[in-house]
Every structure is written in structure tokens, then in C-alpha cells.
Amino acid sequence: MSRIIMGVESSCDETGIGLVRLHDDGTVELLADEVASSVEQHARFGGVVPEVASRAHLEAMVPTTRRAFTTAGLEMSDVDAIAVTAGPGLAGALLVGVSAAKAYAAALGVPLYGVNHLAGHIAVDTLQHGPLPSPCLALLVSGGHTQLLRVDDIAGKITEIGSTVDDAAGEAYDKVARLLGLPYPGGPPIDKAAKAGDPQAIAFPRGMTGPRDAKFDFSFSGLKTAVARWVEGAQARGEEIPVADVAASFQEAVADVLTAKAVRAATESGIGTLVISGGVAANSRLSSLAAQRCAEAGIELRVPRPRLCTDNGAMIAALGAHVVAAGCAPSSLDLSANPALPVSAVSV
């Protein structure tokens, strides 16, 4: 008998409700993926404002849930379990989703599973590409996270291999976009501008790639400063800023480091599959360079479609389905959100 799992996501600026069907053979089918985003309300601030995001979650929670059930053609009474992002994320934002999920679980009389947002970004790939091989490697890149993870069991065993020591990759995109007069969030406009530019025009630094640097950690703060120096130098000389070349060269530096480290980690650990997920996975240069380097190294590359890569409820429902299928114990209804939940805690 298949089971319906509802997923609730509210860790940052997207209110997401997902519905999936967990089949008896363990496969997970996507039924609904509704997202309400407050990104436009944050644009003028140049980044996510936690209080603005939290207010938007409260407004969006019930309407987004209604839309998800309409899309799936299901009744709330069809739900067998509810999964919710327990962390990591913004405290006030997480609180809204966790409180909502608890109330839904109590009203429907179904078990609640507090799950890890980062693991959700990996689990979402199973909705598109089927079960994950064990082990596999995941590169998670977004506005808030940049991590290399070894996944032995999506429902229980995930180990961090490396992470950023300063800015997340997506944060660097936002800051460079601002420098170039491009809108927030910076990923899509930089990707677009870069298409007309020369990625070799400017040799921006590759952070954390020296012989004494941690092999699998990342740094994007120095790159961001290098771009700012270069732009200010050109301005001082009265030159027009070649936005396309700066964007392409910056993007090349980001994609180069991310893919080089991911492929190296997979090769050194003998792992044959790399999953790239998170908002930055939608970047065209990151995916093309990853495809090229994975092919050269004989590694299978899996990148979920862009809609699944950004924050959504389907990823939490998908992870919840794997956690349910693995027979993990549900969470207590006095579950607290944990803004700093480590990725090793897949469910709490």
C-alpha cells in the first residue's frame, strides 16, 4: 500500500509545500510542489531579511498548502505522514514551518518527522533520477550553503567532507551582481551576462586551492574582493566596465573550484556518482563544466531540474518518504527548530 507524505519547508525565503507518494518498492513519486517566495520583498535590501521572511511564511502557509492539495487532487485526510524542515536555516522562519507541521500532524493524527534541509536538497534528486547509489557524493551550492557531502544512506548517514570557510557560493554571486549593477538575486543575471563574455578575460583567484589549503573546503570571500578590486581599478582608469567579461570570468572561477574539488573528492574516495543541488546548481557554467569533468573522470553526474534545486517542499517530502521507508522513529511533538542543525542529523 503506497503512502502519501507531505513536506513543509520554511528555512529561508520560500514557503514550500510538497506532496509525494511513497510506493511499496521504495520509489518516490512527486504529486505537488507549491512554493510561495518572498524574494521580491528582499530585493531592495540586497539579501534576505529574516523578519520579512518570517512574516511572509505566516501569510503564505495555509494558501500554499491548499494549492498543493488542489494540484495533487488529494484531501488532507489522505496524508500518512508529515515531514518538516527542522534546520538548518533562519530561526524565526523555521519556527513558522515547524509550528504549522506540528498542528497539521496533530489535527490529522499522523506522525511528524523533523528533517534536515541540506539532506532534502540531495533527496530531491530521487524524484527525478530514481534511487541514489550508495555511496554517492553531493555538492550542495546555494545562497546559504556550499558543502561537499558523502552520502552513504539518504535516510540516515551523511558526512561532511568540506564546506565554505566564509561566504556561500550564492552569496558571492549576490555581492558581485551588486558590484556590477545587476539585480538581486545575483545568480541568474550573472549567468545571463556571462554568456556574452570571455571566461578567460580576467584571471580571478581560485580560493583554497594552494598546496597547504584544506583539500575540500571552499572560500569565496577573496574572489569577491578580487572582483571588487578589479572593477574599482578599471573605474579609476576611467574605463567602461566590461560587465560580460567580469561576469564570465567570475563565474568561471566559481565553477572551476567547485567542480575541481567535487571531482577530486569523488575520485579519491572511489565514488562513482556526483549529485549537484541547491540554487546555484541551476547555473549553466557550473553544470556544463561539471558534465565535462565528470565525463573525463568516469563519474555519473546527476543534477535535478532547476525547479527542484531551489528551496521547495517537495525536497522535504521526498526526504520524509525515505526516512519513513527506512522505518525511522517519528519526532516528538515538542520538536524544536534548530537553526544550526548539522547535516549528520538527517532526521531529529
Partner: protein, 206 residues
């Protein structure tokens, strides 16, 4: 009719069940669960709701309506109560009536004399509202410095918490009339703390 009362606008995490007599409008508190801990709203509210139903010997399915405090409240916890009320109402198919949390405190005190109700707004400010002797809100809700307030001849209710009885009493007219509830809109009274970024800082000397 059994009404679930929820409020998280103050440091108290409040859930209770009040029986409303549809003929007389009489109110009877049948269960109350309150913990005063400003950091535990998200953690404790749903367990309190379930404990209250258990104490009342009923289930959530037996509830006819919800009365929910909508602030003003400074705590991120205000949203825990409101989203809980909104999602319970949605999934149980019952109405959720918004109640100004200060009105609930005044309603619990009962009419008879003019009242000034104050709750903590943090940042050395208070939320406040003034009530006539018949219980009607005459001024507020506002946020401001307590020192700037002149209580006049009002009895001052300072830093009390809304009770289930007060919440349901404040919503009683709408409940008994079976009105379509007003939207559950929080009374923040303050804009989010956020400033638009100024000019970017240079990284090189000009």
C-alpha cells in the same frame, strides 16, 4: 460549543478549552495549559493544545471554533500561535477568530471600570490599549514608552497574560453570531528592522 483558545503574544504559551453555551452565551473554562517561557512557544504550543483536549476529555475533532490572540506581541513566538491556529482551523474545517491579545486581558478583568492594559514590547517599550468602563476599547493598540502614559483614573493591568476565558469572551459575539471570521492578521505595530544598503564600501583606496 467547545472553543480552543490560543495565545503566544506574551512570554506565556497559552492553550485552553472553553465551553460556550449557545443559548445563554455562558462561558466555562474546561481546560488550561500555560507555561511562561518566551523561548518555548514553538516547542510547547501543540503539546499544550493536545494536553488541554485530553484534560477536557475530548479530541481536536470535537472543537467548534478557535479564538486566537493576534498580538500585539514582540516575540517571534507570536507567529507560532497564529500559524498553529490557522493550520488547525484549515485542517479541522473550523473557523479561527482573531482576538487582540490586549482585549483578551481586558475581557478577563470584566467590565465595571476603565482599564489601561500594558504588555511588554521589549526595547523598553510597552504595547497598550485603554478600555471604557463598559469594556469597549477606547484607544489603542499602540506601542510606546510606559513613562509617556497617563493612566488617569484607569485601573492599570500591567504585564498580564491573556487567559483562555478572556480570549473567548473577547470573541464571544462573533462566535455566537457564527460570523465569517476576520483574517488572522498579526498586530505587529512595528515595521521590520531592515535598512536598504547604502553605497557599497570600496575595497581599494580611492
Amino acid at each position: 460549543m467547545l472553543v480552543l483558545a490560543i495565545d503566544t503574544a506574551t512570554p506565556a504559551v497559552t492553550a485552553g478549552i472553553v465551553a460556550v453555551d449557545p443559548q445563554t452565551g455562558g462561558l466555562d473554562t474546561v481546560a488550561t495549559r500555560v507555561t511562561v517561557d518566551a523561548r518555548a512557544h514553538g516547542e510547547l504550543l501543540t503539546p499544550h493544545v493536545l494536553a488541554a483536549t485530553e484534560q477536557a476529555g475530548v479530541t481536536l475533532r470535537d472543537l467548534g471554533a478557535i479564538a486566537c490572540g493576534v498580538g500585539p506581541g514582540p516575540y517571534t513566538g507570536l507567529r507560532a500561535g497564529m500559524v498553529t491556529a490557522a493550520t488547525l482551523a484549515h485542517s479541522l474545517g473550523i473557523p479561527a477568530y482573531p482576538v487582540c491579545s490586549l482585549d483578551a486581558i481586558a475581557a478577563a478583568a470584566g467590565p465595571g471600570e476603565p482599564l489601561l492594559v500594558l504588555t511588554d514590547a521589549r526595547r523598553r517599550e510597552v504595547y497598550w490599549a485603554a478600555y471604557d468602563a463598559d469594556g469597549t476599547r477606547a484607544d489603542g493598540p499602540h506601542v510606546g514608552r510606559a513613562a509617556d502614559l497617563d493612566p488617569g483614573g484607569c485601573r492599570v493591568l500591567d504585564h498580564e497574560h491573556p487567559t483562555p476565558l478572556g480570549l473567548v469572551r473577547a470573541a464571544r459575539e462573533s462566535l455566537l453570531a457564527g460570523d465569517e471570521p476576520a483574517p488572522l492578521t498579526p498586530l505587529y505595530l512595528r515595521r521590520p528592522d531592515a535598512t536598504e544598503p547604502g553605497a557599497r564600501k570600496r575595497v581599494t583606496a580611492p
